[in-house]
Symmetry: C2
Subunit: 315 residues, 2 copies
């Protein structure tokens, strides 16, 4: 297995590119793909102050690392979600990376600052944990970016993530979500600009990136996510990708090129109807935003006990 | 396991309906679903002359049987595609059904009437066999319907088929195919009306229908189809359906309700550009239609030898 660029010994094959790469040229490929994506979708200007949503997993640590290497002024934001040992461990990976790199990590702890954790919050509002977690993260990332004067929020969603979300949205033809599923959401109505610079890179590449760069990350999936539908969508697409490498890329980028525009009106209508939350002032389609409703119901609810979570760092 | 309708012993469960049925009420369900589909999409008028595309498989024999039971004036059309023993055997099932039912079966034999079979045709034009086969079937069904003065062509595509085709079309965002993927295509520009009355019924139900009605059919898949992408799409959707029954129905009917319209313009543009084939007069987007081009290249080409195909009838 030889590197496509230098013909030296390769350390990774990327089937959808029909190519193998050595360490040096694989890392360069990752940087080049991120540079290309940022330019193509006008994601980040050189002088922008960037806030990276950091979970302690491979994708968010890799995108932070890539942006710092590319010279961006990028701080991290870690949210402690109170998911037992899992949160403690993932937070530690985020802190260790920041300390080692000399980068600034902002930390917000949901239980101590808002009085509830995700398991209790989900229970209080009878939502699936991933739903309560997602809305909390979106709200707190947005708020931190606006409060801190950041120009853009970066998330580590990779091609596998975006293809799986797109698959779920098309399976149910959720036309408003389809209209919104872009690698860039511009700043608007009190929301910060949000971008996904990893959409040209897959899950496996991001794991390899971290291993090759010596970045330790939490390998386990969140214990609350097990059995969720998103994982089933990923598995279904993985089966197709295995026989037809490149299908995920075709699916996601074909959507952006030829279909996304057709669902845009559904989002515009929703956007025009936005109000300010009566409690916190955040943009919302109701009088009180979903996070404030979750927070009011969940605060003071008994924290949910969870079993211990094993974690390991990549070899 | 009790029948949802009469509480008698059930013979089949349908998970997406969360219900079980005895023989009598399952057969009634099939008829009711077909009646509902025909009415909902204005598929067939009571006085229409109907031509059913019959392959000898469960779906086409079941839809023919259902239409005859519902009182429609429905003849069958069997195309001999020259796929070795598979064609001989599937043709025999079609003939046996027609004879037993006292129904009229038109037979067209590709090798003897057009001088080539599907394996040789596919080779001659360097197409996948399923592609050469599909275009030949569409052309010859259309021609037979127009020549015979039929009002509507019926095919046995079921919910599993349509969901898998839709999945393939969305994975590649083939916007023209998406605009055309309807259970009814109206007659236009020299094409007959084409309808799919089984879109509310699944593959498994159609197999059960045939078994319960004592209809013998070819159980094997076409030997040329093995490993094609359509089968992979079915498997991926089956995995999701297994954990979330009803997903295929949601996917297909959600598309019809909320998305199909958005792709309609892509079809209109194509339709406006139709010519008449210089050889056969059929509507085509080129000077000579795809079937005539296939036919010219393939006729006289050596027939391709294939190994024997086992077949069995359901118990």
């Amino acid at each position: 297995m030889k590197c496509r660029v230098c013909r030296g010994p390769a350390v990774i094959d990327i089937r959808r590119h029909n190519a193998n790469f050595c360490k040096e040229h694989f890392l360069r490929l990752c940087r080049d793909q991120v540079t290309k994506t940022i330019a193509e979708f006008d994601m980040i200007a050189p002088t922008d102050r960037v806030l990276v949503a950091v979970s302690g997993g491979k994708d968010s640590l890799a995108v932070w690392d890539l942006l710092l290497d590319l010279g961006y002024d990028a701080d991290g934001l870690y949210l402690g979600l109170g998911i037992s040992d899992y949160s403690d461990t993932s937070g530690q990976f985020a802190k260790d990376y920041a300390a080692g790199r000399g980068a600034k990590l902002i930390e917000i702890d949901l239980p101590s600052e808002y009085g509830f954790d995700i398991p209790a919050g989900a229970k209080a509002v009878k939502r699936a944990p991933c739903s309560a977690c997602g809305l909390s993260k979106r709200h707190l990332f947005d708020k931190a970016a606006m409060d801190g004067g950041y120009d853009v929020v970066v998330t580590g969603h990779n091609l596998d993530d975006e293809a799986a979300v797109l698959f779920g949205n098309t399976l149910h033809w959720q036309t408003d979500y389809l209209g919104r599923q872009m690698p860039v959401l511009p700043a608007r109505n009190g929301f910060p600009k949000k971008v996904k610079p990893l959409v040209r890179l897959g899950e496996r590449e991001m794991a390899a990136y971290c291993v090759l760069q010596g970045i330790d990350y939490i390998v386990e999936e969140c214990p609350m996510a097990s059995g969720n539908k998103h994982i089933g969508y990923k598995e279904a697409l993985n089966a197709i990708e295995a026989t037809s490498p490149g299908t995920k890329h075709t699916f996601y980028f074909g959507f952006l090129a030829r279909a996304a525009e057709r669902f845009r009106d559904d989002v515009e209508a929703e956007r025009d109807a936005l109000l300010s939350c009566a409690r916190c002032g955040a943009p919302t389609s109701n009088e009180v935003c979903q996070f404030c409703r979750l927070s009011e119901r969940a605060a003071g609810a008994q924290p949910v006990k969870m079993s211990a979570t094993r974690t390991k760092s990549p070899a």
